[in-house]
Symmetry: C2
Subunit: 156 residues, 2 copies
DNA sequence: AATAGTTGCTACCCACAACTATCAACTATC
DNA sequence: GATAGTTGATAGTTGTGGGTAGCAACTATT
């Protein structure tokens, strides 16, 4: 139990610089930066604004690469898929939040690419949020949708 | 009421040949065929195996085109998004169905591109199914997910 | 039975999404 | 304070996904 916890922490410890991360992944540094610019990853940033990547980050990037290179899903496609993660349920945000939240009302970009003024997510760090952390692995979004009690309204 | 019904029927009446459909959409015939081959649309087929398109089909194609040309989502991306439609809830299929159903266990292709032997969907026509019909319009998939009572398990 | 339109191929084209290289200014480490 | 590594830019490269054209065989319409 304690051991698992330790492993979990080390998996999320941002130990790799951008150059070692790029080397480990077999891609260039600009590519890694562009994934961030597109909102696919949120690396940790030091006080001096330098990027650091954890093991979990690397695995996330590998899923993204698999989607792009093997599944032939474009970057905008991945963003659209991420936007379907039901964040509003994961963070249990209020009806009022949903009205004003850009993420809730978008189907083009993941929620963590929005600023969330005046919502539950305002003071949260998206990198540490379960929406970002849990549903990043290659096939987990559909699995999330399966663990759902549906209540389809107006379905004729 | 009757009037709406009539409109609804005419909207789904497969009145257009492939050449007129292509002309109305401003695309070539091979393109229209390729969308079908990819599983994005299911046109009606005559006894002589010729394709006929309804008004609803044309609108569907327009959404697909918008996704490809404006949103820059690749065809495989669109397929992956369609695969996230919770068909199992729309058609209310059994636990046993879910075990053996290729669609339930895929996140690459929409459910209607599978044959569904020995499931609730086996004897259904996918073109007439609500999964195909209702959640084809550009932004409706996320809306569907919003009309849901969630029951997230194992969410730490 | 003749004309027009369709079928499923295969072969071809090209815009551009994904990626890389290079830069001066800045940060980290010793 | 000097070396190595990083930052955000811009400019350049390239593979290929999305689309088209052309074909013989088939179907529809007159």
């Amino acid at each position: 139990m304690v051991k698992v916890n330790t492993m979990e922490i080390s998996r999320e410890e941002p130990n790799y610089s951008i150059s070692t991360a790029a080397k480990l992944l077999g891609i260039s540094i600009p590519t890694l930066r562009s994934y961030e610019k597109e909102g696919l990853i949120i690396p940790h940033k030091t006080d001096g604004n330098q990027r650091h990547y954890s093991q979990a980050d690397l695995e996330r990037v590998e899923c993204i690469r698999q989607a792009i290179n093997e599944k032939k899903i474009s970057i905008n496609g991945i963003k659209a898929i991420y936007s379907l993660i039901p964040c509003w349920e994961v963070v249990q945000c209020s009806d009022k939040d949903r009205e004003i939240c850009g993420a809730y009302n978008s189907d083009e970009k993941p929620c963590w690419t929005f600023t969330h003024p005046n919502t539950t997510c305002a003071e949260r760090s998206c990198r540490d949020c379960n929406v970002y952390k849990n549903y990043s692995n290659c096939g987990t979004i559909k699995d999330l949708l399966k663990n759902i009690s549906f209540n389809i309204s107006g379905n004729n």
